[in-house]
């Protein structure tokens, strides 16, 4: 499972970085979203991977670290708000600047 998770995080990050470096705002927003997915999975894995254990000490012989779950929850909420904001801003830039290029003009 460790290998699968690392590959997924790596693929998401690589895709996110590639898309964030593109010239159109839509691709950039998608790239930032992929990056935030990657970082959420990464945070989750930082509490070590355990299966089928409750996040409570004492109820069974081992437990899942509950803190990364709380961190991921916060990161998801913040990431969601930021994505909503950047999508609105990209739409506004498209209408104000007349182009969906990140510099507001096509390189022609």
């Amino acid at each position: 499972m460790e290998i699968l998770l690392s590959v997924v995080i790596g693929a998401l990050t690589a895709g996110g970085v590639y898309l964030a470096l593109r010239g159109r705002t839509f691709a950039v927003v998608l790239g930032l979203t992929l990056l935030s997915y990657a970082v959420n999975l990464f945070l989750f894995a930082m509490g070590r991977l355990t299966i089928g254990e409750p996040p409570v000490i004492g109820s069974s012989e081992s437990y899942t670290d509950p803190l990364p779950q709380a961190l991921v929850l916060t990161a998801i909420v913040i990431g969601f708000a930021m994505t909503a904001f950047v999508i609105m801003l990209a739409l506004k830039a498209r209408s104000v600047l007349g182009s969906d290029h990140v510099d507001g003009r096509d390189e022609s």
């Binding site: 950039v28 970082v39 945070l43 930082m46 803190l67 990364p68 913040i78 801003l89 990140v102």
Partner: protein
């Protein structure tokens, strides 16, 4: 536990919410409410500063959960200094905004209060993940403030600012996650303690995370090569927002100082002084590039934005030298450069509204109204910013140079700081002479701004007076800065206050 510690967070948050709910009220009353909240914040910051000036460290455990399990707010001398600087700058920026900037959009005062909430939270928190949350709060508010009033330039600069900061936030989370994975804690004092006893095998990962954090904070502070977002963003936004943003780069510098002295400070075992090989060279390069940018600028606000980059460079040169005297010099320089940059952006706005279509481009123009008075302000601010004697900029620079004596990089520091000062002087002398001396007699009467001159220049004058006061009372302020630097480098006070029974926790 003293509840005054959390007041600088609750006050702007509540003021922001109340202002949001009271939207039906006339603007004048909302302005009064907003101003009253910031004024109360100034009073509070002064009270807190006087309380911790004796060297005590106040810890406020939220929900009464002791550190490192709960989130703590920590008030030490450095945090109190940052709070006071922020609230003073905010008061005068808001006063200027009440002349009409707040009419350009709907939620200016709400966003302004939430921005202060985020800033104060970032200075007070003792928890790394909480620092991330407060960074997001202050960034989200700053996006709104930056875009306030709209317009083509502002939207384009805003888009760049938002995207680069979102990428920075992602890096921040990667760094926080890695540190938690290796050290098992997010409390900054606890991180410092655990780093000391870390196994050598894990040390590389922890150091990588520390350097990742440095990249994130360098992005906020606009350290080279991550400064490219700053000039367009600061030059295109409205004057009071640009003035308030003078503190935004200092948040990054503050976070770098905490990272350098607390988490990776002298007590971090083999990882101590992790940032030392990077900080000083990058800071010197930032100072040089900032001053070169100021020379190459074609418009006043762009030039001021590059001077902000240069001032971050000067500040981090002092922090990068790392000795007690050098950090104290940086801490003296920090409020001074914040007030000076804020005042300069307000002055630029007064100049712009008198130049009509010429905006702030460096071209000969029809003579402005009140050009003698504005020219006088420009002269004083140029002296303060460039660091000529006898004003506060000179003292900050002198203290930095004196602290650099005997440092291995002494020659570099002297060459870049003094050379940069000369470049800044040339840049400002050129722009001042173009705008004030090469003016021709106007063919028709220029339109003068609506409000009264005294009202217009009051916030600017107050910021200039603060800088002058820093010159007059340089001795007590410098003594406070020295005490702060001693407390930071000692590190033990902070850790002992947060973790009174350290060692007992596993």
């Amino acid at each position: 536990m003293n509840h005054l510690v959390i007041a600088p967070l609750l006050l702007p948050l509540l003021a922001g919410i109340v202002l949001l709910l009271l939207r039906p009220l006339p603007l004048s009353q909302r302005r009064l409410l907003s101003l009253a909240a910031v004024l109360a914040l100034v009073v509070m910051a002064i009270m807190l500063l006087l309380e911790v000036a004796d060297g005590s460290v106040w810890v406020y455990a939220l929900g009464n959960w002791p550190a490192p399990y709960g989130i703590v707010l920590v008030l030490d001398r450095l945090a109190a200094l940052m709070l006071l600087t922020t609230s003073l700058l905010a008061l005068f920026a808001l006063l200027y905004a009440c002349r009409g900037t707040d009419l350009a959009g709907r939620h200016f005062h709400v966003l302004f209060q939430l921005q202060l909430f985020g800033l104060n939270g970032a200075f007070l928190t003792g928890d790394l993940f909480n620092l991330f949350v407060f960074f997001e709060v202050l960034l989200l508010a700053s996006y709104g403030l930056l875009l306030h009033g709209s317009g083509k330039r502002r939207t384009r600069a805003g888009l760049h600012f938002v995207v680069i900061n979102l990428a920075g936030s992602t890096l921040f989370l990667f760094a926080v996650g890695t540190l938690y994975g290796v050290l098992g804690s997010l409390n900054m004092a606890d991180l410092a303690v655990r780093l000391e006893g870390l196994a050598p095998a894990d040390r590389g990962v922890a150091e990588a995370a520390g350097l990742l954090l440095f990249v994130v904070f360098a992005l906020k502070a606009a350290l080279i090569p991550l400064h490219l977002w700053l000039p367009a963003a600061y030059a295109s936004t409205s004057a009071p927002v640009a003035a308030l943003f003078a503190i935004m780069t200092k948040v990054g510098a503050y976070a770098i100082l905490r990272l350098d002295t607390l988490i990776f400070g002298a007590g971090a075992g083999a990882s101590a002084h992790l940032l030392d090989p990077w900080l000083l060279p990058l800071a010197l390069a930032t100072l040089a590039i900032g001053m070169l940018g100021a020379i190459a600028s074609t418009a006043l606000r762009q030039q001021l934005a590059y001077l902000v980059v240069a001032s971050v460079g000067s500040l981090l040169v002092a922090f990068g030298l790392g000795t007690e005297a050098a950090i104290a010099a940086g801490l003296y320089y920090l409020p001074h450069s914040t007030f000076a940059a804020g005042a300069f952006f307000l002055l630029a706005d007064s100049i712009v509204i008198r130049r009509g279509d010429m905006d702030d481009r460096f071209q000969a123009n029809a003579a402005m109204t009140e050009r003698r008075l504005l020219g006088g302000y420009f002269f004083v601010l140029a002296v303060i910013t460039v660091g000529l004697p006898p004003l506060s900029g000179f003292l900050g620079k002198f203290l930095t140079l004196r602290a650099a004596l005997g440092h291995p990089a002494e020659a570099w520091v002297f060459a870049v700081v003094l050379g940069g000062g000369l470049l800044g002087l040339i840049a400002l002398a050129r722009s001042g002479s173009v705008m004030f001396y090469r003016a021709y007699r106007p063919a028709h009467a220029l339109k003068t701004p609506g409000s009264r001159l005294v009202v217009e220049l009051a916030p600017l004058s107050a910021l200039v007076l603060l800088s002058l006061a820093m010159t007059v009372w340089a001795e007590p302020i410098h003594r406070y800065a020295l005490d702060t630097a001693e407390q930071l480098l000692g590190g033990a006070d902070y850790i002992r206050a947060v973790l009174p029974n350290r060692g007992g926790l596993q």
